[in-house]
Amino acid sequence: MSRSGSLISIHNLSKSYRVGEVTVDALRGVDLEVGASEFLSIVGPSGSGKSTLFHILGGLTPPTRGSVSIDGVNLAEMSDAGRTNMRKTKVGFVFQKYNLLPTLTARDNIAIARHIAGKPLEHDAWFTEVLDLLGISGRLDHKPRAMSGGEQQRVAIARAIVNHPAILLADEPTGNLDTKNSDAVLNVLRGLNERLGQTILMITHNHEAAAYGHRIVNMRDGQIVY
């Protein structure tokens, strides 16, 4: 935990990048605290900086200024290799487009996350419970092309949490799903949070989806607005 007792502590976080000859300030001094076992929804229009925040939290890109600590570890001071290592165990990603490996079955898509983290491939009792909660126990030997969007997203969620990450980052997890599947996925996320205490940060455009979280944070022009 950080000094403030939060699982995630973000202070004065800025991120600038160049598009051609133009410098874009994607984040402008963001401050945010997220507690352990919290389900936080981040809402904002396109270009508000929520995806950039998500990518920094996931260690996919370094911040330009400021500090970001997850579970007491400051990402701003990490090298590329350090952030790569952090992704193995500290964070789990769920993407809008599921991002499953098309050549592997659901079981192997989950197993490869374990393998990359250097952990045994066998499921423990906790994860068997997760699979039941996600309702995909009977679909594990299918490849993504044989699964519905909702099923693929639930496999992606299973893969994201299989290594017991400190935080689960979900980027528009229902963006490609119909209402029924969206509700199923959101219920699964809430179930993971309530029954297993999984900390979740979810980015969404959808206010109904955002309402599944304990708290909603709005972003606009690279800043958090309350």
């Binding site: 592997l104 192997d108 490869i112 996350a113 990359i116």
Partner: protein, 364 residues
Amino acid sequence: MINKLVLENLKHRPVRTLLSVLAIAIEVTMILTLVGLSRGMLDEAGRRAKGVGADVWIRPPGSSAISFSSAPMSEGLLKYFGEQPHVTVATGTIAQPIGGIDTVTGVDLEKFSRLSGGFRYLAGGPFQAPDDILVDERYAKQNHLEVGSQLKLLNKQWRVCGIFETGKLARLVLPLARLQELTGNTGKLTQIFVKLDDPKLTNEMVRSFKQKLPDYAIYSIEEFTSLFSVNNVPGLKPFIYVVIAISVIVGFLVVFLSMYTAVLERTREIGILKSLGAGPNYILSILLRETFVLAAVGSLLGILFSFGTRWLILEFAGATLTAMITPDWWPTTTIIAVGGAVMGSLYPGWKAIKQDALEALSYE
């Protein structure tokens, strides 16, 4: 787990996998066929030389063991050698190139029979008329010849009077005097064979002949046949190396293109792996293992193909070309194929490692 991913990736793009494997197989087959052909030709020539049954082999001054020289030696030398102690038979032949690497050989059948025990006829028999020709079994098979068939050589029609078992001196045999006359080499010989009453005296007699005829190339049969190696054929070794280099370049380019395409196609997948925490070694390991599988399967297939090319050569060009299977070259060609393939996958691998995870994840 990585192996499973590698195999699934290869299965996922079967046409590309098959083409890559085939290209590597052809690379390996090219090398093995060339080496097998070189060795086979030399081995065959050596075996036919041994089949003559001579103890000492004499070639003209300044000649090499492996050449298609005409007839610069005087037939008078036969008398000289015949009078030497321990010499039981001395006979000579004339070899005339007839195009490509084929030659026709003029032989004194009576003396040659005393030297070698004679040809073993599978059909027909010795010369009956001035325009008769003897052919060996392999030449007859390739050219669909039988006793009585007509054969055009040296701008003349010849009648096949006998077909003899392969492995003795030559494939096409004419009467010595007839070939000397036709080629304007009356009284001349290309090579002389000497048989001794005691083969144990061979080295001693060779030394003696060399002292008396220092300009001539004089070999024991063992020494002579040992000269039939790749190292003793001028230009053959560099030629083999050039073909190997070309094969490696072809293999390199094929794997380079294949893996480069694979990396481009799998940009998003590489991004996914990076998002899961896969580092550069993990990504590179996937690509290298994939390359290794392609190269290993390609090498194995190339080795199998080399049996096919050998069969084709023997079946359709057996009289001119002889190919061997060369198992001692299998590890070398496999190393060459794998090495070329790994080199071909290095740049695509580097590109995959350097790919930005965010850009990769947003790749469509």
